[in-house]
Symmetry: C2
Subunit: 438 residues, 2 copies
């Protein structure tokens, strides 16, 4: 113990907003580990209140703590820290801004709110000197944001790429294993509890895009909001896409990719995107199955790192929340504070059309002379260089698979559009970006 | 910026002790990233001095900063933070204790010193209110200690297992790939610069044992020193061991394993060990090759996590060092401090003999009736349960491979000793622990 911390210590008073799966686990950890947390922090942590919509529905937490008045908790002089696990934008945003303005530190798992209104929350926190921690907002229990915000603060991060949504990863893993189509697999995922009744946030990539915005903000010291993120979900991924990937030793994953991009003139910007992509089966992300998350981080001095673990679920998310709560409490005991928003680099967001990507294109073509030359001419016309071609004749027609070198996404799209209109091309079977290869 | 931090800020003055591969990279990062670091910290970082043995040998760092007087730097009023990359126990220990007593925070990559004298350093830090950070001491650039010390501070860690020494991993990877013996492969590793002229610290497991002690201390909130760690290096790993592992779909890795063990009476202790072990080729650690490190962490709420990256080298280690320096500097700007030693749990260290392990045993036996029953009787006598047996006849004799269930290491050793003395056993070809399987 430091000399500063001698003498009896004031308990840290915590109010919990929301008490669903994660909140219940947070209460359990705070209760079960009360003695350990006191030792680790240097002061006891006490629950001051739990705001819920229907108090009679929460029999697993202490009844006297339950209240429907979240607004009173964020104002209360008896509360030091707000832990928010309600989710959603409103009314959560107003509650957290009020809490931060009142000098109460906030621990939140709310990726959507951070990705949309992170700067407002940071400004409120910085103005009052309160802390804002949110490790649980991305990749559940995997310590990822603290490494980006703190461990790698002396390095220059160039790229973050990973699988950050468990629902879509479960669906794509299952499609790869069974060969079944998207709709059928989504139904199965819902039945097993891996997909919500309304799966939009997951399957359309909104959840992953929020996480990508948060990761890019921290990695590049730049404000990146959800609207800066190019987003494509997995609804359009077909059994034919999965089959095409398999034929080339690849598999399909929904990736969140945040890159530092330097223009030929030396101007830096950030490119942040979420879309399905084919990756080689030998790539470490290829073996990340089901509800697990994994994220690669590349930095100039540190090189390549990977973080892997459970990306969601009550207990893993609660672990991250309580870890943040310990950090906030330790900061209070030490009369210090955690890291502030770091957005000084203020890099611009590069539009997807300008971002270099690579495409895999699978075509059904007429089996006659001159087809390949016609198709290849379209690539040349758009200045897109071809990395590999595979043509196979069949009874009436032929399949033609093309993998490109890197070109701008806009050039690749125009190429695909034009090829789809060639009379010799009967069907564009599959078009997908390729990642994880040199 | 917080209101607290308004106005012109005092630079953070840093003295570097040592300027080898890592030190040179630290100077490079501090120079190249000076503007970024100022923004990230809220104050500029300035080098106040670099202590080296032979100043004329360091042409790549600013000459006016070089000094041979490390003792003066740790006392200087002009220095706020000491970054130590000299290594070794003495005189480093005295220098760092003096620095901490003088209220200077310390960032160090010195695993041997921390594993032997960590508690003394922590006590000196806590007494003066200085910070002590050492992310670079384990697994190079991989953010691992901060996650253990901070991110998982709200959880109960049960196990840490990983590959934390690049030299031995390079040698074992090469033996697995080529089938060559240990001595031959060590020579090749030395030639390629992957092993030191005196490889003792690496190949005898001292380096990994120091890291295991540090990991266990943080994971279990208990003082664990190098002498508490059971240690076996890789000198005795033979081509026959590697071959035996291959025959069972396994590979051999030098593992550092830190476990929380609960006795039948509910008494908790920690078991910390470093030894070669066979793991299944499908285990994620099996594909960690060459100089890379990877560490699995298991916690009650968070579940299983993995951290992967470059475990050594000048730039990766410097990345971790400068990340810690940013943390210390931010704490100074915020008038706070980082996490203190957390050793309240004070668990006892369990001797290796009592630790449950599993063995793989490969024998050359006489090919006649009754051999298996004689061998099996020895296992039964020591209360060791057999998980799998494979017997194959050859011209004159037979090979018998046995994999056990978990038993205490002492019982397993006694079993192997007794079996080696049976007249029907011609040779004990390979004995190795098995990990990474249920």
């Amino acid at each position: 113990m430091s000399v500063k911390e001698a003498g009896p210590v004031k308990p840290i008073r915590v109010a919990l907003l929301g008490c669903g799966t994660v909140g219940t686990e947070v209460v359990r950890l705070l209760t079960d580990q009360a003695e350990d947390l006191t030792q680790r922090i240097g002061a006891p942590v006490e629950l001051a209140g739990i705001a819920v919509r229907r108090p009679n529905k929460h029999r697993e937490v202490p009844e006297h703590l339950l209240t429907t008045d979240a607004a009173a908790l964020v104002k209360s002089d008896d509360v030091d820290v707000i832990v928010e696990v309600i989710g959603g934008i409103d009314p959560t945003r107003g509650l957290l801004l009020e809490a931060l303005r009142n000098g109460k530190s906030v621990v939140t798992a709310n990726k959507a709110l951070l990705a949309e209104h992170g700067p407002d929350l940071f400004e409120a926190a910085d103005a009052s000197g309160a802390d804002l921690y949110f490790e649980a907002a991305v990749a559940g229990a995997i310590p990822l944001l603290r490494p980006l915000r703190e461990s790698l603060a002396g390095d220059r991060i160039t790229r973050v790429m990973g699988i950050v949504n468990g629902t879509t990863n479960f669906i794509l893993s299952a499609m790869d294993a069974t060969g079944a189509g998207y709709n059928e697999t989504l139904e199965e995922a819902s039945r097993l509890g891996y997909a919500e009744a309304d799966p939009t946030a997951d399957v359309d990539g909104f959840d992953a895009a929020s996480k990508a915005a948060i990761l890019a903000s921290l990695a590049f010291h730049t404000r990146v909001t959800a609207s800066d993120v190019y987003r494509e979900g997995i609804r359009a991924v077909s059994a034919a896409d999965i089959q095409a990937a398999k034929g080339l030793g690849r598999t399909v994953k929904l990736l969140a990719i945040c890159e530092r991009v330097t223009s030929p003139s030396g101007q830096e910007s950030v490119a942040v995107r979420v879309h399905p992509a084919m990756i080689p089966r030998t790539h470490p992300l290829a073996s990340v199955n089901g509800a697990f998350n994994a994220v690669f981080v590349e930095a100039d001095a540190a090189g390549e790192m990977m973080f892997y673990g459970q990306g969601a679920g009550g207990a893993p998310t609660a672990s991250a929340v309580v870890g943040d709560l310990v950090a906030v409490a330790r900061n209070m005991v030490a009369s210090g504070h955690g890291p502030r928003e770091s957005a000084y680099a203020a890099l611009s967001a590069q539009p997807m059309g300008n971002t270099p990507t690579r495409y895999h294109i699978s075509l059904d073509v007429a089996d006659k002379p001159g087809v390949l030359s016609q198709v290849a001419a379209v690539f040349a016309e758009h200045d897109v260089s071809i990395a590999a071609v595979r043509q196979e004749g069949r009874i009436e027609d032929a399949s033609l698979v093309i993998v490109t070198h890197a070109a701008t996404d806009a050039a690749l799209r125009s190429t695909v559009d034009k090829i789809g209109g060639l009379p010799v091309v009967r069907d564009v079977v599959s078009v997908m970006r390729v990642e994880g290869e040199e």
